[in-house]
Symmetry: C2
């Protein structure tokens, strides 16, 4: 059974996609079989791995809104062990089109069960909204990894995310847990970052990852080359921190 982790935070630009790409590639580098699902119409996980989001081939939209066979939508990436279920721009229509559909929140979970035996990890990159696409990911996942920038607006939004997770746990997915809170673009020199980090550790005792991801321009450069950070610049601080994060997650799984 694959471990399914949603990477979610409705606050925009906190490092969801950067974490989705680099954590999934790091887990694949550690010989796990990994599927990354791009649930965002922006399709940043898709293009960040060098895949064409406008190829016309079946994508997540076809799988959840049009009953395409999930196996046909999966694509191999250039990184052994990492497969992708790509997004495409038409995914933006899914929120409205599925609004009155049956089982609308369960579609992704149902489709994933057909392939989950082939993977050790399934990571779900979410859009910056608590919409039906994110709901599908929260229903399909066993846990949520919450990337968060140590700034005021990001901290502000945590309670709505927790409320939404609580509502999903009550009615649709009782097992949904917090995998952990990941500090991203962390600059320990600023008072703001240290203050927010301290508040997060209080809010989530024992559930903030030891690994914090520093601000590192190499992480912002890598997607324009279609590569995860450890392929683009393995010596960078960004690569080191995502490999450490992967180790931390693997150690947690081993202990359970």
């Amino acid at each position: 059974m694959a471990k399914r982790i949603a990477i979610a935070n409705q606050k925009g630009g906190v490092g969801k996609t950067t974490t989705a790409i680099n954590l999934s590639a790091s887990l694949a580098a550690a010989d796990c079989r990994v599927l990354l699902v791009d649930c965002d119409p922006q399709a940043n996980s898709t293009t960040g791995l060098g895949i064409d989001k406008t190829s016309g081939k079946p994508s997540l939209y076809d799988v959840v809104a049009a009953d395409a066979d999930i196996a046909e939508a999966l694509v191999a990436t250039d990184f052994s062990g990492l497969a992708l279920l790509p997004a495409s721009p038409d995914l933006a229509g899914a929120n409205v089109e599925l609004a009155s559909a049956e089982n609308r929140e369960y579609r992704l979970r149902e489709r994933l069960s057909a392939v989950e035996g082939d993977y050790d990890y399934i990571l779900l990159d979410c859009p910056p909204a608590l919409d039906l696409l994110t709901l599908n990911a929260l229903v399909a996942a066993a846990s949520v990894l919450i990337p968060i920038q140590c700034e005021y607006f990001a901290l502000e939004g945590i309670s709505s995310l927790m409320n939404t997770m609580g509502a999903v746990r009550e009615t649709m997915n009782p097992q949904l847990a917090v995998e952990g809170v990941l500090l991203t673009m962390y600059d320990e020199r600023t008072v703001l970052a240290r203050q927010v980090a301290a508040e997060l550790r209080e809010f989530f005792p024992d559930n903030v990852f030891q690994t914090a991801i520093p601000r590192n321009v190499r992480l912002a450069e890598a997607p324009s080359h279609g590569k995860p950070i450890f392929q683009y610049d393995v010596r960078s601080k960004g690569a080191e921190s995502y490999l450490n994060l992967a180790r931390e997650i693997l150690a947690r799984s081993a202990n359970r």
Copy 2:
């Protein structure tokens, strides 16, 4: 007639709210009468100005989805000349609730016409999505100010924003123009930022603001004090750049 400017970009975390708050406060400081409309369920423009998003008083949701009187929802801020039409968490429901309503894209435009005589500028802070709330802002606005971080994913998303603006212009708001592209969190030391800025200047000849907003931690600190940057730290680079942006916009209006 107020000049209505939507501040939009579906890419998350590019500085929409930071621009909305600080540009509107800077215009108010230049003796303009300004209304800031928070169209984002995250309600960051609302809390960033020190207003309680959970006060229970009428907010944008009540105005567009429940026919409340817009004049009752407006609140004064601590800054003379700047009024706010606040958001609240229930705004997240508007996308689905209005999906099948009549005139669903025109609601904000209709409501604003009742008060627009009282203002010189109306700024609309948009959520990180090309959803019905953003559509309402694009239909209500005369122009769009596009904040953009000089990074790969932000550049990638520009074409979908342009396509959406084109569709709005064709069927709902023929006058919709680009007010300008604003480079935010700009760090001229990185090659990536310089490359992306050059591409944007090619893509939008004559329409990238002269003023670029540098990365400045004081801008990230100010909202936790509920203040625009020139009240929080008027000597900061952030304050200087937003005051320059306001001057640039005022000079453009004067020339038209």
